[in-house]
């Protein structure tokens, strides 16, 4: 059996095509699953029958995935802003510092934290696929996985940032870090002016997913993620 699509599927994220919104019909139990949905169930059940994976492992891993959101990364950033020693440990070994805060690295990746300064603005990408600091940010947004961002972030980062409304002065260096299967990056954004008196929780509330990817700054006005 060759694995190939035999039924049109409405949810195509064409990497080499236009991106588009994906309206999804309500999923109900009675609705027939699609071809690939059936394939996923079949593979999972065969692997469980053959004891290659445990019956409960998928459910448990879904719980892990659901527990990972940008709120974890925001907590790390806010702590780094308020605690210089933690910040130094975070920049020296991102994974170990996150683990101090109880964030486990279930996917066995290393984490390099990149600090934005007056002189340097960092941006993260995965040109080959969709590698992302999932233990601290959850799953990446679709645009991070699609061709325009992956292709252009490394060659014209200023133009890409401008599309997110972010204008970086010419005298600030832009560094783009390309993630791999085993090394992931997280941007430590600049602490915004005007937040000197904020508590750690208040600071964390300002830090968005996109700021930790590096496509927007953190600002007091624009807390709260797009999408």
């Amino acid at each position: 059996m060759a694995v190939q699509s035999q039924t049109p599927n409405p949810d195509h994220n064409h990497d080499n095509d236009h991106e588009h919104e994906h309206p999804h019909a309500e999923i109900s139990q009675s609705e027939r699953p699609g071809y690939y949905d059936i394939m996923e169930t079949a593979i999972r059940e065969l692997l469980v029958e053959r004891k290659l994976i445990g019956a409960d492992e998928i459910r448990r891993q879904i719980e892990v995935l659901d527990s990972r959101t940008p709120a974890l990364g925001a907590k790390v950033v806010a702590r780094a802003w308020r605690d210089a020693e933690f910040r130094a440990r975070l920049l020296a070994n991102g994974r170990a510092a996150c683990e101090e805060l109880g964030i486990s690295f279930y996917d066995d990746t290393q984490l390099i934290v990149l600090e934005n300064t007056e002189k340097v603005h960092n941006l993260i990408v995965c040109t080959l696929c969709s590698c992302y600091p999932r233990p601290v940010l959850g799953l990446p947004p679709d645009w991070y996985k699609l061709k325009p961002y992956r292709a252009r972030a490394v060659s014209e980062p200023r133009a890409v940032l401008a599309e997110f409304g972010t204008i970086i002065p010419d005298d600030v260096e832009i560094r783009v870090s390309d993630s791999t299967a085993v090394v992931r990056y997280l941007v430590l954004p600049k602490r915004p002016d005007g937040a000197e008196d904020y508590s750690e929780e208040q600071l964390a509330g300002l830090v968005t997913r996109d700021a930790m990817i590096g496509v927007i700054p953190v600002s007091i006005e624009a807390g709260g993620p797009p999408l």
Binding site: E19, I27, A153, A181, L227
Partner: protein, 113 residues
């Protein structure tokens, strides 16, 4: 560089630096099967059955047409099937039979079979 040389030096995933369209800030909540597929990828990695890099190469091995036409998680599950066949952990006929069995749990004819 000629067009054919470009084909030689760039596999389908290797798109860093290529010209591309403006970024559309799209996202969607994962469908239940997509989330299960993601969890399956992690579990396969935990058991050292398929790691992240094997998965990526498995997607690339689907070829440019499938990479272009399948959605993100469709590519993943198709790649998992092929890698499991290659490793001798599943046989194509086993998967075909199991897919028929799964499809038969719904009242009408299985899609695409």
């Amino acid at each position: 560089m000629s067009q054919s040389q470009n084909l030689l030096t760039r596999l389908p995933n290797d798109i860093g630096g290529l010209p591309a369209e403006p970024i559309a800030r799209v996202d969607h909540a994962l469908e239940p099967w997509e989330k299960r597929c993601h969890a399956l990828a992690d579990v396969l990695d935990f058991h050292k059955i398929i790691n992240t890099e094997e998965k990526r190469r498995g997607v690339e091995a689907l070829g440019a047409e499938m990479v272009a036409k399948l959605s993100y998680y469709e590519r993943w599950i198709a790649a998992f099937a092929n890698i499991l066949f290659q490793k001798g952990l599943l046989a194509p006929t086993d998967l075909a039979r199991k897919m028929d069995e799964v499809a038969a749990r719904w009242p009408t004819d299985p899609a695409g079979q």
